[in-house]
Amino acid sequence: MNTTRLAVASAAALGLLLATACTTDEIDDPDTQETAAGEEGGDDWFVQADYERQLEQREIEPEGDPAEPWLQAIDPDWVDTSEFALEGGDATVCFSNASVSNPWRVTGWITMQQQVEVLQDQGLIGEFRSSDAADDDDQQISDIQAFVDSGDCDAIIISPSTTATLTPAVQAACDSGAPVIVFDRGVNTDCAVTFIHPIGGYAYGADGAEFLVDNLEPGSTVLALRILPGVDVLEHRWAAAQEIFGDSDLEILGDEFTGGDAAEIKNIVTQYLQRGEVDGIWMDAGDGAVAGIEAFEDAGKPYPVMVGEDELSFMRKWDETGMTAIAPVYSNFQWRTPVLAATMILSGEQVPSEWVLPQEPITEADLDEYLERNADMPSLHYAKFGGEDLPGFPDAWRDR
């Protein structure tokens, strides 16, 4: 009797544990969570044409003022928006946000709010409504539906949490007649007036991989650290890196999933260092890069050639140690563009149908410049946030 009860209790507890483990994972997915589960292996995610286009776009001079990269566009195809022109300003702009669950999104969200304040002072935007779906697809679908049902939104901005699941909701928003602006992650419909994003994952992954190939001797060893599988933007980064490593003489020791957890990153790097030399580290996102570097310090090994990101904790560590490194950038300033695009559309100005923003890595040459520009900023801030000219700078980003 007692044993049966214990067995039942054990089974129930284990089930519950597994369930909670799953939920927390789901809530906490980093950066860029997209289309449904894919196994590891970049090949399933690799589209040759997209890869080539993104690598090419890195070389194209963007249209627009280089001082305002958030308004620049690569190879734009301008569309007429006069049908959406609104008399009298004070538009109600609605924004459905996937989440603010990582520092990259937090930084961007602050920038967007600061930009909105400027536009409100100019009388272009009246009310700005936003909703946060906390990485929950169902929540975001109902958020978007609520915007549509309210009938108040003169423009709807959407940063989708996942691609396939959010597509019908974005379609419904388009059908409501209000102009729709999608940014960051995409959806499988082109009904939005404009889709705003930096060049993309392939270019990001290639920037880092090419740097390693250029800065390491042939035969050197490289460890790849990835956040998690099945997220398209992250898979593209890895697929591009694999493509480049495949044509090089570098030896890839392994690719490990870290969940973006600094402790996990440090464990994994420490274990690889116990097994042998690691000459270079490639990361699909810079979160926890410092923990990876510390693993070398604690093991008493020379610094690797490092691929990080434009996150300040990494850039400061890079500067302190003088290591050979590069910071690929997934342009955080893209968070300014959607609200500016909304006001452009509502005043009938042309916008690019696919608004490809520049995406340039930070190299040794401009490291000091970006560190100086962000001197007051906290360590989990992104150097290319592009908000230095907004009136709230620097307090809004510093006191987050």
Binding site: M1, T3, R5, L6, A7, A9, S10, A13, L14, L16, L17, L18, T20, A21, T24, D25, I27, D28, P30, E39, E40, S99, V100, S101, N102, P103, R105, V106, W109, P229, G254, D255, E256, F257, G259, G260, D261, A262, A263, E264, I265, K266, N267, T270, Q271, Y272, Q274, R275, D287, G288, V290, A291, E294, D298, A299, S313, P378, S379, L380, R400
Partner: protein, 330 residues
């Protein structure tokens, strides 16, 4: 014959002895794959990194052996690291006061868990599941979604540094010493009256209560100890690797697995704290083995899950037998 069988049963029977056998097997395989792992530096690095989970397992043991669960520890570890980063914000002088605040916070969380479970009679896995979500949400609200601030150098010493230049061992990590101290304290606690009442409570709380034990008090104290252990684990993990949004994520799952692997019975009343801690070392050794074998990363959770189910089933099978015997009329 009978004696040999009982010795074998102790080692393989799914109880306390099994975890040590499993640990030895895993270490043997690690040694076969990579003898270099047993050099002092590697071994110390392994123990440094395993220390937080071992301490967490000791805390979780108190709760489980008294017949409850604490699912909030992972979220509490994460919350503590985020709180530390935000409050310290790089200022060395704030390190000690902030550690004080963290200890108070850990005790408070444990106290709330304990009181809600014992006074309001809410089942502990609902209480602590709720606490997990409350902590997770509160931290997100407080920080605006992602951690801010940074840890001071001195905060990072216990988790990252150690005593340098020890003969034969090289660096002896502070984390290892803290782990040994916590382990010793836990073993001592279980030998006091408190420990005996805790086990009696988990075994049969009604009988314990009727014989005059303060069941609710020891259960609440167990939650407080778990909260404290999560705080210490948080200090070590934050020190080890710095602050990130994912710290502590899923640790409640790993630590309960560790305790169960140690032969501690879910539902309470059976098991040794030293075995629970050995269970945590076993889990960490298993992760190391996966890494040494270069097992594809996406396969690891499945292998981990299979091993857990096998271990629990193995333990359950052993406990089932005597029950079956008593049921059969002789």
């Amino acid at each position: 014959m009978q004696r040999a069988r009982s010795a074998a049963a102790a080692l393989l029977g799914g109880g306390t002895g099994t975890v040590f056998a499993l640990l030895a097997v895993i270490f043997a395989i690690v040694f076969a794959v990579n003898p270099g792992f047993f050099q002092a530096a590697s071994l110390m690095a392994f123990l440094k990194q395993a220390a937080p989970l071992v301490i967490l397992a000791a805390g979780q043991y108190f709760v489980i052996v008294s017949g409850n669960f604490d699912l909030s520890v992972g979220a509490l570890v994460g919350a503590q690291v985020v709180i530390a980063a935000r409050l310290i914000d790089g200022e060395e002088a704030r390190t000690v006061p902030v550690i004080g605040v963290m200890l108070l916070f850990g005790i408070a969380v444990g106290l709330v868990n304990g009181l809600v479970t014992t006074v309001l009679k809410v089942q502990s896995f609902i209480t602590t599941l709720g606490m997990l979500l409350v902590l997770y949400g509160a931290i997100r609200l407080w920080t605006g979604g992602a951690p801010t601030g940074s840890l001071s150098e001195s905060f990072r010493v216990p988790g990252r540094m150690g005593i340098e230049n020890v003969p034969l061992l090289g660096q002896v990590p502070w984390a290892l010493l803290i782990m040994i101290a916590c382990g010793a304290a836990a073993i001592w606690l279980m030998r006091t009256r408190f420990g005996r009442v805790l086990i009696a409570t988990g075994d049969n709380d009604l009988a314990a209560e009727l014989s005059g034990a303060r069941v609710d008090t020891v259960r609440t104290a167990a939650f407080v100890l778990s909260g404290l252990s999560a705080t210490i684990a948080g200090i070590l993990i934050g020190g080890f690797a710095g602050v990130s949004a994912q710290v502590g994520e899923g640790m409640e799952f790993t630590v309960i697995t560790a305790v169960v692997l140690g032969g501690v019975v879910l539902g309470g009343g059976q098991g040794l704290v030293v075995a629970a801690m050995a269970g945590a070392l076993t889990i960490e050794a298993l992760f190391t083995l996966f890494n040494q074998l270069a097992l594809p990363a996406s396969l690891r959770p499945s292998v981990q899950g299979a091993i857990i189910i096998a271990a629990v089933a193995y333990a359950a099978r052993r406990r089932m037998r005597p029950a079956g015997q008593t049921a059969t009329p002789s």
